[in-house]
């Protein structure tokens, strides 16, 4: 399968390709590109006990695109439809949303409920909770949770 050079190894963060001729994007490999869409925030469904979590996925690619293999591409929050596949240890196609703690969370594929903090490795080291149940019911104002954990870390060095 031929590599689609025009759309390989490029940064399309936040951009959509809906206006592109689907033939340009079909029948080949797209390698090492970033098509990730920004994690949205929705105030009425941004903590663990919310009901009706919305999907953050965005339609990025045009109808009619087919037989594309995405290799090592970042496809977070992108809808991948039809006969297109995502492969490679560096590929991602996660659902991500901003929750009330101001951070980005990976969502459950089925329920869209938050399940893993994108900053889990950092908070884990700082001894901060990465339990989605601890996401506040109201949006945090002012300093982020991250900056508070920094202060805590400094104080304990």
């Amino acid at each position: 399968m031929a590599r689609i050079e025009k759309y390989s190894a490029i940064d399309c963060t936040g951009l959509t390709l809906l206006g592109i001729d689907p033939a340009e994007l079909s029948g080949g490999e797209i390698v090492g590109s970033c098509f990730a869409q920004e994690a949205p925030y929705k105030a009425d469904a941004s903590h663990a006990r919310s009901t009706g979590h919305a999907s953050p996925l965005v339609k990025v690619f045009p109808d009619g695109m087919h037989d594309v293999t995405f290799i090592n591409c970042n496809l977070d929050n992108c809808i991948i439809e039809g006969v297109n596949v995502v492969v490679g240890e560096r590929s991602n196609n996660r659902k991500i949303r901003v929750m009330n703690d101001g951070d980005d969370w990976i969502l459950d594929d089925v329920t869209n409920a938050p399940k893993e903090s994108m900053l889990e490795k950092w908070y884990g080291r700082q001894g901060e909770s990465v339990d989605p149940a601890d996401i506040p019911a109201r949006k945090r104002k002012g300093e982020t949770r991250f900056s508070r954990s920094r202060r805590k870390a400094r104080a304990t060095r």
Binding site: A39, N72, R90, W122
Partner: protein
């Protein structure tokens, strides 16, 4: 351990392969094959004579003395322990010695598939976490041959005081120090890049929309990097640095701080622009130094200190243009020294009277309120600094500028010659200056 501190690793998105050897001991004095597309030797019959033996053989052969110091990667085989191994000696075309035995301990390794040399295509978490291969003192070279699309990097590994973990970009030749779009691009999307202490990043570009673009813990160095967070969500930062050294970098965060920093951070010769905040000093932080920087079109505050920030912050030799406020703090504890700064098209300095701060030799022009809570000092300049074309990014001054040669300088005692500085980030001497002056003006 396979790793040796003098190892270079190579990543080239255009020609690399995940199965290549990827590394070379830069002190070996042989031939570096880590940049050779496809590697220099591929074998499928690598073997050793028994468990624990570092000598390996291949009937296919092809080993040469020039390969000493290069790494081979074993991908599969019988009784093999997959990973990276450094060639330490070559006896002949069929026999070599590795830095350690490549077997699992269950018996002789046979039919191992490996490649000597060749770059990787991807920077992966697995490699950054591979303590057998990537160790303090090592440098990962990233070639600017395509976007490095990344989805979350998070590693708790530390460099050492005498050996950082380094990732350096280049364009055509290692060490060519590319600028602008010639620097390799790492596109994080909605992900973050998190590393622990003593990492060094050189000549790289990062884009992201995540809540924290890059989070770097103690003693991390960024030089000649551009970090851009274009998120539409509020409170999103491009770069967070804890006690780091940020030099000659460019940072943008559309709806947050271009740089958020904590105690002991040194920020020198950087360009912060088109952001809500330029530099945000976070709560509980002491001793922040901002030197020789340009703050351009910062809708909020150029240098902002949290209400709980602590003592002794310094801002000098910097230029603030088209900002909401140049420097603002609500912390009564934070003593400031602000000298040799141009504040043009921005409100000036707003810090509590009780902060016991020192300001002087600053230029205030069309700035709204010049100072609140503090005094300008006796040597303030209240006129147009005559920057060349600040609206189009040229913040230089000419010898005709009222900021030329009137900055806070070095005391005369014990020195010979004229020691003066300009106000603002531009320290060009415009001829006639002594060699002493040119040299000393770069020391802030």
């Amino acid at each position: 351990m396979a790793g040796i501190a003098t190892t270079y690793w190579e990543i080239d998105p255009a020609s690399g392969n995940a199965l290549n050897g990827g590394g070379y001991d830069s002190a070996a004095g042989t031939t570096d094959y880590s940049q050779t597309s496809g590697g220099i030797l591929s074998l499928s019959d690598l073997a050793n004579s028994g468990a624990g033996v570092a000598d390996v053989s291949s009937t296919m052969g092809g080993f040469t003395a020039a390969m000493v110091g290069n790494y081979l990667q074993i991908a599969s085989g019988v009784n093999d322990d997959p990973g990276f191994y450094r060639i330490t000696a070559v006896a002949d075309t069929n026999n070599a010695t590795l830095d350690r035995a490549p077997d699992t301990g269950a018996g002789a390794m046979t039919s191992a598939v490996c490649i000597v040399g060749g770059p990787f295509a991807l920077l992966t978490d697995a490699f950054l976490e591979d303590t057998d291969a990537f160790i303090p003192g090592n440098t990962i070279w990233l070639k600017s041959s395509g976007t490095h699309s990344m989805a979350s990097v998070g590693t708790a590994r530390d460099g050492l005081t005498d050996g950082a973990l380094t990732i350096a970009g280049y364009n055509a030749t290692r060490g060519d120090t590319p600028t602008g779009d010639d620097r390799p691009l790492i596109a994080l999307g909605s992900s973050s890049w998190i590393t622990d202490n003593r990492w060094h990043y050189h000549n790289l570009r990062f884009t992201m929309t995540s809540s924290t673009g890059i989070a770097a813990d103690n003693y991390t160095v960024f030089s000649n990097c551009k970090v851009e967070n274009t998120s539409g969500t509020s409170n999103r930062d491009a770069l967070k640095s804890n006690s780091g050294f940020i030099k000659s970098c460019e940072a943008v965060s559309t709806n947050g701080a271009a740089l958020a920093c904590t105690t002991g951070s040194l920020i020198e010769s950087c360009y912060f622009h088109d952001s809500l905040t330029g530099v945000e000093i976070q709560g509980g932080s002491d001793y922040i130094a901002v030197v020789g920087c340009i703050f351009d079109t910062i809708s909020g505050i150029g240098v902002s200190a949290a209400a709980t920030s602590m003592l002794s912050h310094r801002v000098s030799q910097s230029t603030f243009y088209a900002c909401g406020t140049a420097v603002k703090s609500t912390s009564a504890q934070s003593g400031w020294a602000i000298t040799n700064c141009i504040m043009s098209g921005t409100a000036g300095v707003d810090i509590p009277t009780s902060s016991q701060s020192y300001l002087d030799h600053n230029c205030y022009n069309n700035s709204g309120t010049d100072v609140s809570g503090v005094n300008k000092g006796p040597n303030a300049v209240d006129s147009d600094p005559l920057m060349a074309d600040p609206a189009n990014g040229d913040f230089t001054i000419s010898a005709a500028s009222p900021c030329y040669n009137v900055g806070l300088g070095i005391g005369a005692a014990g020195s010979v010659g004229t020691y003066k500085k300009n106000i603002g980030a531009d320290q060009t001497t415009y001829g006639g200056a002594s060699a002493h002056q040119t040299r000393l003006e770069t020391i802030c």
